[in-house]
């Protein structure tokens, strides 16, 4: 049985693994290919170029601011004062926030600011830094706050001064360039994980695949056990039946085809046991019949010579001894009575030993019951006969004898006064008849033997009546049983197969 189980498991695993392996390869290739669509030198070049352009544009904007600052400086008179400072109009690229003039020592000479704003001033270090530059101009950048300051050095009227133009870039420009940079950085991050992300994906897929295989294996083992365990039980059951253990049954654990097979096996075992019991019973009955027939023959033959001899003895006595003559007459009478009893016994043995062949004819069981009831006008009956009792084939004479035997037993058990209950009904393919008395009941130990030949609880009984009754019923293919409760009477029930 382990071979079948292993085969099932291997087939299951093979079915699961067959697609898993190529799918794993496909997924691996797909992941790497998908990754390379987005992470490849072409994309990198494009992003780098885009960043380069953005940076050039940014530098250009700052130069633009410086040029505007220079133009403003050129427009200022040599002895410019605070009143000469004018904040230029905003351009497409810039919004101007403040214009300030400082002395060389860093003292503020004058300023103009956009209304409502408090624009921070540049640090003195920036002013000094511009001194070091050949162009004399420094652009101080604060992207985070969108604030740019062009610090321009000027030497006018013999003194050094600084013009500081503070402006803000159009927000869209900074945002767009920051987005470009963000994409570029994201690309770098993805590029750095070019190996690890696909590896992790593939690892997760393989782990999932392993889980699938593990679950499939568990399911395969479970299924194989569900299939092979009942089969193994059937094999064991067959072996037990072969050894003669007809009481062996298998527990039905499912309602599928396997369960059906188990149910059929158990039914077959029951039928085998019933058939065996019937066969044994019939063999016994046949043996008993043979014995009865021989006994009847051996006992019957000497009865007449004995009777005639005694009769001759009485007839030939011619003496005058009256007391002796009377003794002879009494003995003759006793011998005749006992011979009659023996003849009755022999007749019963003969009847038992020579039961005629079954002769079935179509008839109505209820009609037969009613006919038999009429034979006992002195007895009381309660009838409950089925209205749907069909006409079917049975041996009228045998069933009549069965009913007579059961009714007479019931009358003996319950007496003439209490009614005998007679009922009939149809149960699927059988006609069932019950005879119930209100006697004292039959003990269980007696119930087990009551249908055996030569078993009787009556002092003058031969014990063949119920044995013959059972034989007649079983010859029809039917069954007879007794249910009895102490003090509540007994019910004898027999059923006959309905053959159309």
């Amino acid at each position: 049985m382990s071979t079948v189980r292993n085969k099932i498991i291997l087939i299951f695993l093979g079915t699961v693994l067959l697609p898993v392996i190529p799918i794993s390869i496909l997924v691996n290739n797909l992941v790497h290919h998908s990754y390379s669509v987005g992470v490849n030198p072409s994309v990198e070049t494009a992003l780098a170029t885009s960043i380069g352009h953005s940076r050039e544009l940014y530098q250009h904007r700052k130069e633009q601011l410086g040029n505007i600052a220079n133009e403003l400086l050129d427009q200022l008179p040599a002895d410019a004062e605070a009143k000469h400072l004018t904040l230029p109009e905003a351009t497409k690229e810039w919004r101007f926030l403040a214009l300030r003039m400082y002395q060389q020592n860093g003292r503020l000479l004058g300023e103009r600011q956009t209304d409502g704003l408090d624009v921070p001033r540049v640090k003195q270090g920036h002013l000094r830094h511009s001194d070091q530059l050949p162009s004399g101009q420094l652009i101080v950048s604060d992207r985070d706050h969108n604030r740019f300051a062009a610090v321009t050095r000027t030497d006018r009227s013999g003194s050094r001064q600084y013009l500081v133009l503070t402006a803000a870039v159009n927000d869209d420009f900074l945002q767009e360039t920051d987005q470009t940079l963000e994409v570029h950085q994201m690309y770098q991050r993805l590029s750095l994980q070019e190996v690890s992300i696909p590896q992790n994906l593939l690892t997760a897929f393989l782990v999932l695949g392993f889980l699938v295989v593990a679950v499939a294996t568990a399911i395969a083992i479970w299924i194989s056990r569900r299939i092979t365990e009942p089969i193994a039980a059937l094999v064991t059951g067959t072996e037990e039946l072969g050894k003669g253990n007809l009481d062996y049954r298998i527990e039905k654990t499912s309602s599928d085809e396997i369960g059906e097979l188990v149910e059929r096996f158990n039914s077959m075992a029951r039928d085998l046991k019933t058939s065996q019991e019937k066969a044994i019973y019939l063999e016994k009955m046949a043996a008993w019949q043979e014995i009865a027939r021989r006994l009847a023959h051996e006992i019957k033959n000497p009865l007449t010579p004995i009777q005639l001899t005694v009769q001759e003895m009485v007839d030939q006595y011619s003496e005058s001894d009256e007391s002796y003559r009377q003794l002879l007459t009494e003995c003759h009478q006793i011998v005749n009575e006992e011979i009659e009893n023996l003849r009755k016994l022999v007749n019963e043995f003969s009847a038992f030993g020579r039961l005629p062949e079954l002769q079935k004819e179509r008839g109505n069981l209820n009609t037969l019951i009613n006919d038999i009831i009429k034979l006992y006008p002195h007895l009381a009956f309660q009838q409950d006969l089925a209205e749907d009792m069909p006409v079917f084939s049975f041996d009228d004479d045998r069933i009549r004898r069965v009913l007579i035997n059961l009714i007479e037993n019931a009358a003996q058990a319950g007496g003439d006064k209490t009614p005998i209950e007679l009922s009939s009904r149809r149960i699927e393919r059988f006609a069932e008849v019950s005879v119930k008395d209100s006697g004292s009941g039959i003990p269980p130990a007696v119930q087990r033997q009551i249908f055996q030949p030569y078993f009787s609880t009556k002092p003058d009984g031969v014990g063949l009546g119920l044995a013959i009754t059972r034989k007649m019923i079983e010859e029809h293919g039917g069954e007879i049983r007794v249910n009895s409760v102490s003090g509540q009477g007994s019910i004898f029930t027999f059923k006959l197969p309905i053959e159309e």
């Binding site: 940079l181 750095l192 994980q193 992790n200 994906l201």
Partner: protein
């Protein structure tokens, strides 16, 4: 010496530390060294894209019995401002700005005596070794989180997988699934280099 102290994981154009030279100044052990191929390959690409590069210097002092008697960790952060075209190196000391990658590389090619340990109270005649580990972390957890969030926020590849019921409302966000496979390690991508000095005594190096 390196064989004893363990091998280093080299990557990307053989990141190297060499020429470890200890010196002593006012009870402070200093070490000059050279780092080759630091800003090249993936590190260079990451730096030029504006990603911050974390550098971790871990000097360890061993005695004759090969016992580690001192250890320290110094963290530096190098970033490149793409817009202003300048490099900033921040550490526990004053930040240093560079106007070109060449200047930054030159700085690392010849790192001036870097203070690493206080040797106050140590035996000046004891034979010592310095082992220097350099870890370069290109992608940190915070960078990874940004990548994950950027992937998840993308709405380009959502798919409706309501196969059995049209109105189930279940939507499979592939981006969110992909983000699951981005690791959560503190150090996602990094490089390591290691070098050891020649044996020295404090008294010998104090005469330099």
């Amino acid at each position: 010496m390196l064989c004893f102290f363990g091998s280093a994981a080299f990557a990307q154009d053989s990141l190297q530390i060499k020429q470890l030279r200890p010196s002593l100044q006012n009870d402070t052990l200093r070490c000059s060294f050279q780092v080759n191929n630091l800003f090249s390959g993936e590190i260079r690409e990451a730096l030029l894209s504006g990603l911050p590069i974390l550098l971790e210097l871990k000097p360890q002092l061993y005695n004759r019995e090969r016992q580690r008697i001192r250890t320290a960790t110094f963290k530096l952060r190098v970033t490149y401002d793409i817009w202003e075209d300048r490099y900033l190196q921040e550490s526990n000391q004053l930040p240093v700005a560079f106007t070109s990658l060449e200047m930054l590389t030159t700085w690392w090619n010849d790192v001036q005596p870097y203070p690493i340990f206080s040797v106050d109270g140590m035996d000046t005649e004891e034979q010592l070794w310095i082992v220097m580990d350099l870890r370069v972390i290109v992608l940190t957890r915070s960078q990874n989180e940004k990548l994950k969030n950027w992937i998840i926020s993308s709405a380009e590849s959502e798919e409706d997988v309501s196969v059995f019921r049209k109105d189930s409302g279940f939507r499979l966000n592939l981006n969110r699934i992909i983000a699951l496979f981005i690791g959560d390690d503190d150090e996602v991508e990094g490089f390591i280099a290691r070098a050891a000095s020649t044996p020295f005594t404090l008294s010998a190096i104090s005469e330099r």
